[in-house]
Amino acid sequence: MSRYRLIDGAGLIFLAIVLALAVLVPASNLWLAPDSALHIPDYLVPLLGKYLAFALLALALDLVWGYCGILSLGHGAFFALGGYAMGMYLMRQIGSRGVYGNLVLPDFMVFLNWQELPWFWLGFDHFWFACLVAIAVPGLLAFGFGWLAFRSRVTGVYLSIITQAMTFALMLAFFRNDMGFGGNNGLTDFKEIVGYPLQWAETRAALFAATAVALALGYLLARWVVTSKLGKVVVAVRDAESRTRFIGYRVENYKLVVFTLSAMIAGVAGALYVPQVGIINPSEFAPANSIEAVIWVAVGGRGTLVGAALGAVIVNAGKTWFTGALPSLWLFALGGLFVATTLLIPKGVVGAVTDILGIRRKSELPAAPGVVAPKTAPAEPAQ
């Protein structure tokens, strides 16, 4: 029977690693002596946390791209919106410790002469409200956007490009000081989260652990969706959209469900990212960021979930390393990595590993072929 298991071999390994990290990284950072070989230094904790937040974003993207065939070039927008929601909460937590010492208004508002807190900032002094917004706003945007686009049957590159236009428009909007989100400088100089100073190693460790747990949960949720029958319908949509309609599935609703869910996961990723990197600003909306996220997924292996997360970590760790070790040549290294990945391991890292290990992928979900070819230049029919 081809009922797919919720957790397959790779998934089990993945979950084990992520959950182990959730425990070991904080433990090693907080309790091992600094000169121990296994000690994880302070600076590494938020860095690893950032990778995991990106991994969660990649996971969200793989859900829509790998399984539903929606190549979103605007997922960074959902991530950034989640980040802004968290940033607004953190901003409010600064209280009167800002440079102008204004209890209510964030510094940039004082400085631009705002007299009172705009309505859309209300409520952000509550952590749970911010968390809710971090999920709800990306979800609502995705729902509204998807409702329009999927109903009108915007597909393929057309959809990709308008998602890109969406994030680009948001970027320009958030750049504007008038928007009330701190303009180009964005939100930064955070002090504490739910009462714990962000500078404490314990807080950082806790944030890391939370991110790891969120990644594990995100994986389970995504996996549950794709192994359900809905997952099969969605893959059917990816491979033969109109055929799916002819057997009675309302394709737009399926896409909408997955797209919205994915956006909410991306929002969570953004909300976890911000306290760990300490700044959120409009460049997170930059189309290039969204494209990069797509690339993480491709590097890791599209349509595998585990691969997406892995790709995000690999590329970002590579970036961290290259920018320090080869500051003026690292683009060659990174660019070369992308080209090499495509040519040498077309199925991504996970695909390559499974191929090498000769793991039979019978129980695996259908592999993903290319699907976003412009319709006028059809991909070659599968041989």
Binding site: F145, V157, Y158, I161, A165, L331, L343, P374, K375, A377
Partner: protein, 541 residues
């Protein structure tokens, strides 16, 4: 425009100079020249200004040469002996006072340049203008008259009247009359009727200067003159609203043609071939750098061809970018046919590599590409001003578009390209050499992107980031127009350009762009396959 006080003084002196020159230059004048010249040697703007006025006042025979030298930064002085000298256009060192070659002992000394600032530059222009009203060249006389029209300095009236009396050339005469009218209009002691008539003449010029002249009449101006001026203003403004719309349309076309140029190569590599070509922008950049190199090489080795360097750069950029494109196709893209999404990943990598390569070779900062003489400046038609380079880009973009359209529709290569991209394997079985066609097509798209780089080097930064600025817009244009349809790209580019420029005056550049993006998103809901969507079974299959 109310001229600063020292300027009006200067022009008054010019009038006097004309008078002084008419007399036989006496010793009084000669002393005055020495006096005047000494002002150039203090390295203070105020003194330089006075010196300039003095020079004009004395109508020194060599005055024009000195003023020209001052304007060009060739007026020098010896800080020790306070002698003023200048280099003529050929570089020969001459004495300012007499125009005789400078004594050898001065030539070896550390001479200082007489510095000018904007105020002096204006004064120099005006002084030069006074001399030029008498130039043998009719075009120069007209230009000088137009300069007076701008300043409306009443003291220039005698000179204008004088020039008008002898003027034969129709254009120059008209310009002189307009200049005269501009002065009369503001002249409190001129007859009322004449001033009112002058208002009409000024209004007929219908440009910003005319508007300024009509608007800035003093409070004590007679009612009839004011009324005439107001009528003129109203007429100009009425036209201005129309002109504004036309202007914005033209600007929109111009922006659109830039978008078209940037996008059209992508319309081939992406639209026709289906490669999600993130390195497209870098092909544009390579074209721009090819232009820079061509210009530098020509400047260094074939200066005679300098003014044609941009034209020569077109085939060079095409070949260089095309070759790079073909190379990328042969080494990377060809392994990815049938896997279009992976082209996104690979070309993104290629784009990073190319950016860094250019940064490593040419450095991170901007490179200068000169605008040839014949592309500089603008023409003003009835209040609508068009710059030459924009006109050139519009025409160039259209030319590239139609050439490409012809190539794809009318040649066998075009047919083969389309066949290959629609079904590579079957095209092979029809005897089409698919690898060659693939390389040529990708090379063609890249080459066209390179050509766009030539044009963009004229209006934007030539830097390693050049391409990044166009990639999003290019994809937007191609998709908005309808993938795979060149006409769609044309219409898409122009309509986005025009819409942008019509929005900008109301919403500002930032909000305008946001509105435009949202409008495009909504538009795609109406036309999910772009403006020029292909219809029918062929597409849905």
């Amino acid at each position: 425009m109310v001229a600063p006080p020292m300027l009006s003084g200067l022009v008054r002196l010019i009038a006097f100079a004309a008078f002084c020159a008419a007399l036989v230059a006496g010793p009084a004048c000669a002393d005055a020249i020495d006096d005047a010249l000494s002002g150039f040697t203090t390295d203070k703007y105020d003194d330089t200004d006075k010196a300039l006025q003095g020079l004009v006042a004395t109508a020194a025979p060599n005055g024009l040469a000195v003023i020209e030298a001052l304007a060009a930064g060739r007026l020098l002085f010896d800080p020790e002996s306070k002698t003023v000298l200048y280099k003529d256009a050929s570089g020969a060192l001459k004495l300012a006072k007499t125009g005789e070659p400078a004594p050898a002992e001065l030539a070896g000394k550390p001479l200082k340049t007489v510095r000018v600032n904007n105020r002096l530059r204006r004064a120099v222009d005006a002084a030069g203008g006074a001399f030029e009203l008498r130039s043998p060249d009719a075009a120069k006389r007209a230009a000088a008259a137009r300069a007076v029209f701008k300043t409306r300095e009443s003291t220039a009236l005698p000179a204008i009247d004088h020039a008008l009396a002898d003027e034969k050339d129709a254009a120059a005469k008209k310009a002189l009359e307009q200049a005269r009218a501009a002065i009369i209009l503001g002249k409190a002691d001129a007859p009322e009727a004449e001033r009112a008539a002058a208002a009409a003449t000024v209004a007929s010029v219908a440009d910003p200067d005319a508007l300024a002249a009509l608007r800035t009449l003093p409070a004590d101006t007679p009612v009839s003159v004011k009324a005439a001026a107001e009528k003129g203003v109203a007429a100009i403004e009425r036209w201005a609203t129309v002109a504004n719309v036309i202007q914005n349309l033209v600007y929109g076309m111009s922006l659109g043609s830039v978008l078209l140029l940037a996008a059209i190569g992508l319309a081939i590599t992406f639209g026709v071939m289906g490669v999600i070509n993130m390195a497209h922008g870098e092909m544009v950049m390579i074209g721009a750098y090819a232009t820079f190199l061509t210009q530098s090489l020509i400047g260094a080795y074939l200066p005679a061809l300098n003014s044609a360097s941009l034209v020569i750069a077109i085939p060079v950029a095409f070949l260089v970018a095309g070759a790079v494109g073909a190379l990328i196709e042969r080494t990377v893209i060809r392994f990815l046919y049938g896997r279009p999404l992976e082209t996104l990943l690979a070309t993104w990598g290629v784009s990073l590599i190319l950016q860094q390569a250019v940064r490593s070779v040419f450095g991170p900062s901007n490179r200068t590409v000169q605008t040839p003489e014949w592309l500089q400046g603008s023409i003003e038609i009835l209040g609508v001003s068009l710059t030459w380079n924009r006109i050139a880009i519009i025409l160039f973009a259209l030319a590239v578009f139609f050439a490409l359209q012809l190539l794809l529709r009318r040649t066998s290569l075009g047919l083969q390209v389309r066949a290959v991209t629609q079904n590579r394997r079957m095209a092979g079985s029809m005897g089409i050499r698919t690898p060659r066609v693939d390389a040529m097509t990708f090379g063609l798209g890249s080459g066209v992107a390179g050509i766009a780089g030539v044009a963009l080097s004229q209006i934007d930064n030539v830097s390693p980031n050049l391409g990044q600025n166009y990639i999003i817009d290019s994809f937007l244009v191609v998709v908005f127009g309808g993938v795979g349809n060149l006409w769609g790209t044309l219409v898409g580019a122009l309509s986005i350009g025009v819409a942008n420029k019509l929005l900008e005056p109301f919403a500002g550049a930032v909000l305008g762009k946001i509105i435009l993006l949202i409008a495009i998103i909504l538009f795609i809901q109406k036309k999910p396959r772009g403006l020029f969507a292909l219809k029918g079974r062929a597409v849905e299959a």
